[in-house]
């Protein structure tokens, strides 16, 4: 570790590793720190990802692909099934990853591009000079270090502190987080689709998922809206589901975690600081997917760092380009998903069933989520009226 870098990236998840890689490839001096002693572990993810979105960043590698899925199977509260493909361009739509291996592979890419990587190194505060962010205070093996940098990237996930230390309030309200529990179970046959069970009985304000992990294994999890948690918990709902519906399942791993579902937040940059990925609350409010958004944001942020280095200005003036760029892309999608989420959480189980019936006789098998929503809207304009602005 040196005492000065061009860029310090805090958090070695997908957002941080892609940011670090992008910067290092352009010759910037980059330090990527991760507070855990093992990158990617423990996992806080159901590991589902769209193929095309992933391939923009990395060549698929069997070392971190646990299974391929053909699409999604949505199940209404009364059991009505809707099968869709998340990617119309290919028969096999998605992967279920092995995040432990995947996250490490991404950090390895950053390292090979020239970034310095440190684990068991936790950012504990920001350094400032003339009022602007100028590096971090970090703890490594019990010792505190001051490390200077022209810019700090907060890629520190759901528990992000970097934004708050920099004056950006990223705290989530209970209705802005899905609180989740998941078991990796063995001795089951999950089929070839990612399955989503909807309904208040399964998961109030969220859904239950079964993602195949290959070899008679699957990630079986439940996410519920934070505002509906308390009297019921994600973990107890999950235990009940497994007990009632998968008595043969053997649990070989437990995962817990929170997903930001706030939609785009107001601010993600300040002088000498940018937030990326879950730290910037860039996961999708409807699906809870955040891996590829985090990678996209990392790429955008990295490119803006390179520009900032070129012109020697790391103020908001320069960094604003990142903010504008992600809002116009990821942000737009998050906004739409938020609108759908806000409506869905209000629907009763009967209404959800009705939506599912309305698709009877319609072939939705090659549709992605947006087209499916459009058909649902056309068939149920009254129930979905508040979504009309999505289809203009």
């Amino acid at each position: 570790m040196r005492d000065r870098y061009d860029v310090i990236v805090v958090g070695a998840g997908p957002a941080g590793s892609i940011t670090a890689k992008t910067c290092a490839e352009a010759g910037l001096d980059v330090l990527l720190i991760e507070k855990r002693q093992e990158i990617g572990d423990p996992v806080r993810c159901a590991e589902g990802v769209g193929k095309d979105a992933l391939k923009k960043h990395i060549e698929p590698d069997n070392r971190w692909i646990a299974a391929e899925v053909k699409g999604s199977l949505l199940i209404a509260p009364d059991g009505t099934e809707i099968k869709i493909s998340e990617d119309t361009s290919s028969m096999k739509a998605g992967y279920v990853l092995e995040r432990k291996v995947f996250d490490r592979a991404l950090a390895q890419m950053a390292a090979m591009a020239g970034a310095e990587v440190m684990v068991k190194t936790r950012a504990t505060g920001l350094l400032r000079s003339n009022g602007r962010v100028a590096g971090i205070e970090a703890m490594y093996l019990g010792e505190t270090y001051n490390i200077k940098a022209d810019i700090v990237i907060g890629a520190d996930g759901i528990e992000s502190k970097i934004g708050r230390w920099g004056g950006i309030d990223t705290s989530l309200k209970p209705a802005d987080i899905e609180t989740c529990a998941q078991f990796l179970v063995s001795n089951i046959d999950p089929g070839e689709y990612s399955t989503f069970y909807l309904g208040n009985n399964y998961a109030p304000g969220g859904y239950l998922w079964i993602f195949p992990k290959g070899g008679h294994m699957a990630n079986v999890g439940i996410g519920i809206l934070g505002s509906k948690s308390g009297d019921v918990r994600a973990i107890s709902l999950l235990q009940r589901y497994i007990h009632n519906n998968m008595p043969q399942a053997k649990i070989v791993e437990m995962v817990v975690g929170g997903v930001p579902v706030s939609g785009p937040i107001e601010q993600t940059v300040t002088d000498g600081l940018m937030l990326v990925g879950d730290a910037a609350r860039q996961s999708d409010p409807l699906t809870g997917g955040g891996i590829t958004n985090a990678m996209d944001a990392g790429k955008m942020a990295g490119e803006v760092c390179i520009k900032a280095k070129e012109i020697g200005d790391y103020s908001v003036n320069t960094l604003k380009e990142y903010e504008d760029k992600w809002r116009a892309t990821i942000g737009k999608e998050l906004g739409k998903s938020l609108q759908v989420k806000n409506l869905l959480i209000k629907l009763t189980d009967e209404q959800l069933n009705k939506l599912a019936y309305s698709l009877k006789g319609v072939d939705v098998s090659n549709m992605a989520l947006p087209s499916l929503l459009f058909i649902l809207f056309k068939k149920n304009p009254k129930m979905l009226w508040e979504l009309r602005t999505l289809f203009k």
């Binding site: 806080r44 996930g157 609180t179 973990i235 975690g257 929170g258």
Partner: protein, 56 residues
């Protein structure tokens, strides 16, 4: 009132840290630390996926 973290239950996922309005929580490896800015508001306890937090 104070916040109790049951370290035997906690899955150290950091969800509580993300919702704390005061920024009073910190996840360090396998445990959650609470500092003196905690207002015992109970939001963390509400959203914890396993119910490891309790305001007493």
């Amino acid at each position: 009132m104070s916040l109790n973290v049951n370290r035997y239950k906690c899955g150290y996922c950091g969800a509580c840290v993300g919702v704390c309005p005061a920024g009073a929580l910190e996840l360090i490896e396998t445990w959650v630390e609470v500092d003196n800015t905690c207002t015992s508001c109970g939001i963390c306890a509400k959203i914890c996926p396993v119910g490891a937090l309790e305001v007493k």
